[in-house]
Symmetry: C2
Subunit: 308 residues, 2 copies
């Protein structure tokens, strides 16, 4: 059984642990907080229910593949890959990477779950830069199958190929960025949509409720199984070339109006909060997160059943 090190025992770490341990990996987990270490299996357990929608596996089997470690050295020794999932702070990540670099074999891949920081910056202080990547999951990684692998200029091709195979063997669908960029692909696509949602709301064209409906009851239903380039292939009889030729004047005209940078002022954020609370209760948040994870698993299951 190959060994995966998990550094950081919060929700992301627990979600990764579930993803790997349910796919025949032995997972070794470290967190510098004793309390987090002691709670870790409970955190995994709380996410396990979502996984049962997708997979027939007992919690005992998962538990038998997870080892909680009291020292960072123990997750490093002979690990195939170490998935760092501590807080999103560059200095802390740089320091933990120095330790991971020191205690692991030279072949071990060092992967950060960062959603935003560049691998060249996270790994700047380590010796073996060729084995350093960002492997950013989509939340939560025990039910969403996606991971985006972002190498730096120093990352070796062998590292990229090996990482891709490891994630695939744990049932993830990895993509490979060809060069590093802040926000990678996922958060850049998400940010572009979010900024336009905010422009439409702030400038008074539609309510938050109506903008949410436009995504979840229209665009999102298609986007659950088709990407933007696949969709453009279906939007005109001649395929993607025909679609872009027909629609480019409209798309470009919109782009010209979509290049303002929303201010996100404190006043505006308060306005968002106020409108939100008229329709969604804060006290209900945990239930909504639970339902989100279940629905993600159900949509994923539906896709798998239909060969997607």
């Amino acid at each position: 059984m190959d060994k995966i090190g998990i550094c950081g025992g919060g929700l992301i770490g627990a979600s990764w642990a579930l993803g790997f341990s349910s796919n025949k990996y032995k997972v070794f987990v470290y967190d510098n907080s004793k309390k987090v270490r002691e709670e870790f299996l409970n955190t995994v357990k709380s996410l396990y229910e979502d996984l049962t929608i997708l997979k027939d596996i007992s919690f005992n089997e998962i538990k038998s593949n997870i080892v909680i470690c009291e020292a960072i050295e123990d997750i490093c020794k002979d690990a195939t890959l170490i998935q760092e999932s501590i807080i999103e702070n560059l200095e802390e990540k740089q320091n933990i990477f120095i330790e991971l670099d020191k205690f692991s074999n030279k072949e071990t891949i060092l992967a950060s779950s960062s959603s935003y920081l560049l691998p060249s910056e996270i790994g700047i202080k380590i010796k073996q830069k060729d084995r350093c990547i960002v492997a950013h999951p989509a939340l939560p990684p025990h039910v969403v199958p996606f991971v985006e692998i972002c190498p730096s200029k120093q990352t070796s091709d062998i590292t990229i190929e090996k990482a891709k195979k490891i994630y695939q063997s744990a049932e993830y669908i990895p993509i490979i960025l060809k060069k590093e960029i802040e926000g990678f692909v996922l958060n850049r696509l998400q940010g572009a949509l979010l900024n336009e949602a905010v422009r439409l709301h702030e400038e008074g064209y539609a309510s938050m409720e109506d903008i949410d409906i436009s995504l979840k009851h229209a665009l999102g239903i298609r986007w659950a199984f088709l990407g933007p380039f696949e969709i453009m292939d279906l939007n005109a009889p001649g395929g993607i070339k025909d679609s872009f030729t027909r629609y480019k004047p409209g798309i470009k005209k919109l782009a010209e109006q979509q290049n303002s940078i929303p201010d996100y002022s404190d006043d505006y954020i308060l306005k968002l909060e106020k409108e939100q609370r008229l329709r969604l209760k804060s006290s209900d948040r945990d239930n909504r997160i639970k339902k989100r994870n279940q629905l993600i698993a159900l949509v994923r299951k539906l896709k798998l059943e239909n060969g997607e």
Copy 2:
């Protein structure tokens, strides 16, 4: 039984006819092409299969609620609402609206399916501007439940409220724009995402395949049942205010890099076509459209079963 007029018998018209006729409306259809009129029921039949995933209704029942008319007057007389779905050309729409205005009662709502043109422009030549709206569906409207109602400054509140109720009674989920804007909500959100997908591809950060994966295997799974503002409420312990306060430096920084306007040059479109054809066959397009419609219906069914 209330009467709906459908003006234009292409795919959109047929899809609307299916949506209304399966919800206890009597649908009267007109197209100026005899061939289109003669083919209309076959077009409806070809879409009917998708609907059976969602609904237990016979094609005979649907057929009994559809009347093909040889004159535009016949779809107008005593109609509650007329859904215009002819080609996306401003002059042709303006001219057809003159006719619809002339032959219908003053209370009949005149709704255009336009995805881009403004209601103030489409209705500029008619007398009764208070009853003119754009009601833009998401494709295809026999399985996607969404419609965005865009009024002009001249549209009356009564028209907006009445239209909303009509679409709701036919199981659509309507949103109401507060003022008109090109691309409405749906195509503006879609365009913002598409432009960023193209930036990432054109500047060499990721392949079309990998960008498609980021949407369909990550973002889209969530977006199938949650809108952007609902998601932001779940992304930080303190809800949407907390989320935007934490993440606004990152979101704004991305926005600053996302304000270029892709050129969509002929060379670039050819490059897209070439990369696309390496992974998706043109000859397979009809099957992919069929599968898209079925999967939309299946995701919609899953959502309804889960109270979404």
